[in-house]
Structure formats: C-alpha cells, structure tokens
Amino acid sequence: MGDLYDSQRAMRNMRKAAMQRGVIAILDIGTSKIACLVLRFDGPETFRGADGVGSLAGQSSFRVIGAATTRSRGVKFGEVDAMQETERAIRTAVQAAQKMANVRVDHVIACISGGRPKSYGLDGAVDIANGLVTDGDIGRVMAACDVPDYGVDRDVLHAQPVNFALDHRSGMADPRGQIGNQLNCDMHMLTVDSMALQNIFFCIKRCDLELAGIASSAYASGISSLVEDEQELGAACIDLGGGSTGISVFMKKHMIYADAVRMGGDHVTSDISMGLSVPMATAERIKTFYGGVMATGMDDREMIEIGGDTGDYEHDRRTVSRAELIGIMRPRVEEILEEVRVRLDAAGFEHLPSQQIVLTGGASQIPGLDGLASKILGQQVRLGRPLRVQGLPQAAIGPAFSGAVGLTLFAAHPQDEWWDFEIPADNYSGRSLKRAVRWFKDNW
C-alpha cells in the first residue's frame, strides 16, 4: 500500500509540474483506438482558487491544442497484450498530436479500461481529539479505514472519500472546521490488476513520457458524459468500448462503484466475421455502415454486399440481408447488456434514488441500441456524448471519445484521493521504524 501511495503521490507531483509547464497530454489506450489529446493550460481560470467549480464546469482553464487517433494495436480487453505494438501505436498517436499542437509534451495522463477493476466500499471512524475537525483528522480517518485484503497482484487505482459523517450527521462533503466527537468516512476504492497497470506504465515510459496520473476509463467516461444532476441523483455510465465495457455508478457527484465487462464492440465484429465468414476489416466496415439491433420488415429487403477477394464469383458476390446482420449482432449486444445488468444488480443499483443509465463509448453508436438497452436495463436509458471542451476537433466529439474527454476533466480538476491527504504522523513513524529494522536485517 505504501508503495502505491508513493507512486500515486509522485504522479500528483508530476501533474503539478506539468501544470506549471502548461502542457499535458491525455492518452486513452483502448482496444480499438488510441486517442491522444494535448491540453494547454492557459485559460483565464488556470490560476483561480480551489473553491467551488469555475465557469464552464472548470473547463475554461484549458484548451485542446492537439488531437490524434490511431488504430490500436496489441491491446486486448483494455490491457496491453503485445508491448511493442502498443508502444508503436502510442508513439503514433503522441507524435501526431504533438505535430498538430506544435509543442512537445512530456507528461501524460492515461486511463486503463481493463485489468478487472474491483470496487470496495471502505469505512473508518476516529474520535476527534479537541472537538474540531482538522486536516489531520481527515487523514487519520482515511487511514483508519480497514482496507480489505484485495490480493497481492492488485493495485489501488482510485481511493476516493465519498462521504463523511460527523456523529449522526451524514452526507457531508467537507467536515473540516465542524464540531463533533466522532468522524466517520466512507471511501470507494478501486483496484486493478498490477500486471495490467505495470504494462501501461512501462509502455508510456518506453515512449519517453512521464505518467502524471492514471484513471479508470469507466470513471473518466462517467465524469464526461453524465450531466450534473445525473451525477448528483445517481446514474450509471455504461462505456461500450471495443474490448471491454466499463460501468461506473455515480451518486452525489462521487463514483461509488465501477466495474468492467470483458466484452465490447470487437466481439460483435468478430461475431460478424465468423458468421458471414469475412475478414475482420470487412466485418468492421459492415458493422459500422449497416449494423443495428432492432430489425424491421424493411431490413429483410435491404441486401448488403459483403464482398470477397477469392476470385470465385459466387463467393465474392455474396449478399446478406440487414436482418441477418442484425440477427448476428443482437445476441452479442444483448449478452453484453445482460452482463452489465448483472453487475449493476450486484452493486445494488436499484436502490439509488434515480436510476438513469447513460450509454456511451464507440459501440453505443449502433442504431437502435437505446431501445434494446431500455428493455434490458430499465426505462431510463439515454445515449450520452461527452461534454464539449474548448478546442476539441469535430472528429473527436463523438461518444467514442468520452473516455478521453473525461480524462481532460480529470486532468484539470482531479478529485481528492486518499494520497492527497497527509499521512498521520504516528503511522508514518511506525513505517519508517519498520523500514529501519528491515534495513538492519538486510544489511547485517
């Protein structure tokens, strides 16, 4: 834990350095595409105080000066599968974005969509010594949260305090300066596979870039595509990506649950490829041009040329009706949504006051998806697009970029996490004593 705490702190310092330089890059490493945005922090809001949310939800402090997308390579289920290929893809995206921005970027904020994220709800309580809650008490109550045994091969990605309670008053955003006897804290912790995280670290390092922060892509999509009242009242953001589908549940403007289904648009494509026996590239093209999930009578008559390169006329002139294509796609989309339903039920989503569901991500552009999703997930379903941020090119405003846009917001205003508060002194000294003892054991 301490190790991760240090690395997260190092990333925060890196982010601070990047803010001073004024240029930072966003890297969304997905299964189907890698997007890189270059942000310049020079807006009028850059140097305003931390109180409240600025104009345009605090996004007027930066503008996007470079954007590039490239086909992703070597990534499967949102995890790095072939390191060299991924590195090349990252280089391509970063180089193109740098070229557009005409500035060199050294600091990168990345997101991870795979790695089997797992949510934990933590709580802790401490007695307030002199009746007044101070910064140190916040750090102490967070340190007092009993951390579950999440396994040695997993790392904490987010650890955000979502609720504070002072004696019997709950739902506090900031208890500092208030008077009470006992401070309780609820924390949401998200862990991912260490290996997946380390691979992304390593890939970015090999591109001569410094990692200034890492976030879950489900979280990033949520903050960019959920509107403010949805975040306040409770909503789930379903980020239908290429290789994985991220789920994040928001309540009172905090993420309280995140998960991922290891299925996405690429599986639909591979189904089409197998079902029609066409190459993946053709299947992708057919999916994007003619795909759908709700068949109508009209679709039986709409014939799609699926083509081929064999030289055999009969084979190369095959056609398939759109209804057949929908028949291939729909079960897989249903499967994904059913799996999402299962995860949401497990998380107790039905207990939220509002059960808005927002579909975003590249695969949410399948026509008729909202109709299908409302049958499976509930009536309050809408398709979401990311927030408009300044300078974002037209090509990058679609739902496929909600993760990247969410990361820009995350870069501008990261939420306070566990590691943003001071470690309690007693804890720290104990650790350093332990370290000294270990050093003696190792060396004598």
């Binding site: 391509t92 180089q95 005409n102 030289g311």
Partner: protein, 295 residues
C-alpha cells in the same frame, strides 16, 4: 486456365504510420523550445556569419573593405563642420604666444578628428612659461588655446644663463641680461630654486638695503649669503636667517656698519656675530693701535 484479366492485387492493409523510435525521438527533440529557437535563429545567424567571414578572409576583399571604410571615414571627417581653420592663443604675452604656436606646428585647414588635443595640451604645458593650458576647438572652427602663464618672481643665475623662476621654483623662461628684468631679485647657487619662498622673504626683509643689494647666494645648499656691492657679504645661518638679517639691518641703521670698510658680516653663529674687515683697513687699524701704543 488462368484468368485473362489481370489478377487483382490483394488489398494491402492500411499502411501502419507508426514512427520508428528514433524518428519519434527526433521529432520530440525538434519540438523542444530550445532546439526550435536554435534552428530558427541560431542556424541562419551562423550561416550568415560563416559566409561573411569566408568572404572577408580573402585578401582583396579585406583590402576593399578597409579602403571603403577609410573613404567613408574621410568623407565624414572632411566635412566643413569638422574642419579647423586657425589657432587662437589666449592669455599669453606675444613672446610666449609665438613660442606656443611654434611648439604645435599645424597645417590649416585640418579636420578636428586628426587633432590630438590632449597631446597638444601636454606639449604646450611642457613649455617653461606655461603654467597650464586648455585646448579646445572653439566657435567658427578655430582652435583655441587658453594659456595661464607662469609669473616669474626671481631670477636665478646658473653659470652664464639667467633663468626666470616662479614662486614654486619652477623655470618660467630665460632672459638675456640682468637688465631685462631689473625688477626681479637675483638668486644664485645650487638648490636656490628650491627655497624661493625663503629668499623672497629675505628680500622683503632687506628693503632698507635695497639700494645696495646685489643678490642672494645659496651656500652649500643649506644657507644664504646676501651679496652687497663693494664685495660685501652677509653670511646668514641656516636657521633663523630672517632674524639674523634683521640684526644686521639694525646694526646698519644704528652704526652704519655696512658703510664702513667691512668685507664680511658673519651672522652664522647667533651668539657671536663676527665681522671681517678688508686687509687695508685691518692694517690701518693695526697701525693705529701701534701708534697709540707708541704714544
């Protein structure tokens, strides 16, 4: 049978635009602000510099540049605004003024850039009769030399030449004969010029003897002799010369000491002033004494 139509090329995968690692690094390097500045400003400047230096390093080009430079410089310096057409010497008597003009010979008109005023000033100040000088190019293109002449206060005889001395003991010129400056007191002897102050005070003190005084002689570079006509001398001590002279003057006024046949009044020892009479007078005195004794 082979198909007669040309075989369709298998559609190649879209070209992978991934840059190589070194290309990527090169591009990042070129986007570094320092490097960009260097290439945008440093390289053109260096290129221009190299071209200029290589062109200049050819002998003929170098001469051409030097000649052109001289030509431009001359056209500016020879402009009528900078020309000096004459010289005015102010504050000196005609003799000294002629001497000054002769010291700094100049062919007018001349450009003021070619005149080294400081050197000229030093040269003028080296003249004996000049105490200080100010040289400037004044109005109407005239070189103006302001002279403050030395005021001679004494004559100093050095062998056959008579030097003029000012109050600091500095030479202020030469005169041909004593009669040229009869108004100035005459001093002589080695080291006399270093004690002008004392000599002048002696001369002021010796006002009652003015008719008879010939001059002052520095003896042994430590004390003064007052030389009167009829080869009379007053030997003064090194310390308290003025007081000693006063005593002699009082003696003269009381008993006409110097009108008698006295050769030397020796005041070197204040306790025991001595006089030496001439040989004839001494003989006469001796004889008179004998006669008195005989009687």
């Amino acid at each position: 049978m082979q198909p007669l139509s040309a075989p369709r090329r298998p559609r190649a995968l879209p070209r992978d635009p991934a840059p190589s690692k070194w290309k990527y690094r090169y591009q990042r390097w070129m986007l570094t602000p320092g490097v960009r500045g260097l290439i945008r400003i440093g390289v053109p400047c260096a290129l221009i510099g190299i071209i200029a230096v290589s062109w200049y390093s050819h002998g003929t080009n170098k001469e051409m540049v030097a000649a052109k430079w001289e030509e431009v410089k001359a056209t500016v310096q020879q402009r009528p605004e900078f020309m000096v057409s004459g010289m005015d010497v102010v504050g000196a008597e005609p003799v000294l003024a002629d001497l000054v003009v002769a010291t700094v010979p100049m062919a007018f008109p001349i450009s003021s850039f070619d005149i080294d005023l400081e050197a000229m000033r030093q040269k003028v100040e080296e003249l004996d009769g000049v105490r200080s000088a100010r040289v400037r190019v004044g109005e109407a293109g005239h070189l103006k030399i302001d002279i403050t002449p030395r005021i001679p206060v004494a004559l100093w005889r050095d062998g056959d030449t008579l030097h003029l001395l000012d109050e600091a003991g500095t030479f202020a010129g030469v005169v041909e004969t004593r009669t040229d400056r009869i108004d100035l007191p005459l001093i002589a002897g080695d080291g006399a010029q270093d004690h002008i102050e004392e000599a002048l005070s002696l001369f002021r003190d010796a006002k009652p003897l003015q008719e008879r005084i010939r001059g002052l002689v520095r003896m042994g570079e430590r004390r003064w002799d007052v030389v009167l006509d009829r080869d009379q001398r007053i030997l003064l001590p090194a310390e308290g010369a003025v007081a000693a002279l006063d005593r002699v003057i009082v003696l003269q006024q009381a008993s006409d000491l110097l009108d008698r046949d006295v050769a030397v009044v020796d005041m070197r020892n204040a306790d025991r002033p001595t006089i030496r009479v001439n040989r004839e007078a001494a003989g006469a005195l001796h004889r008179a004494g004998q006669t008195e004794a005989d009687n």
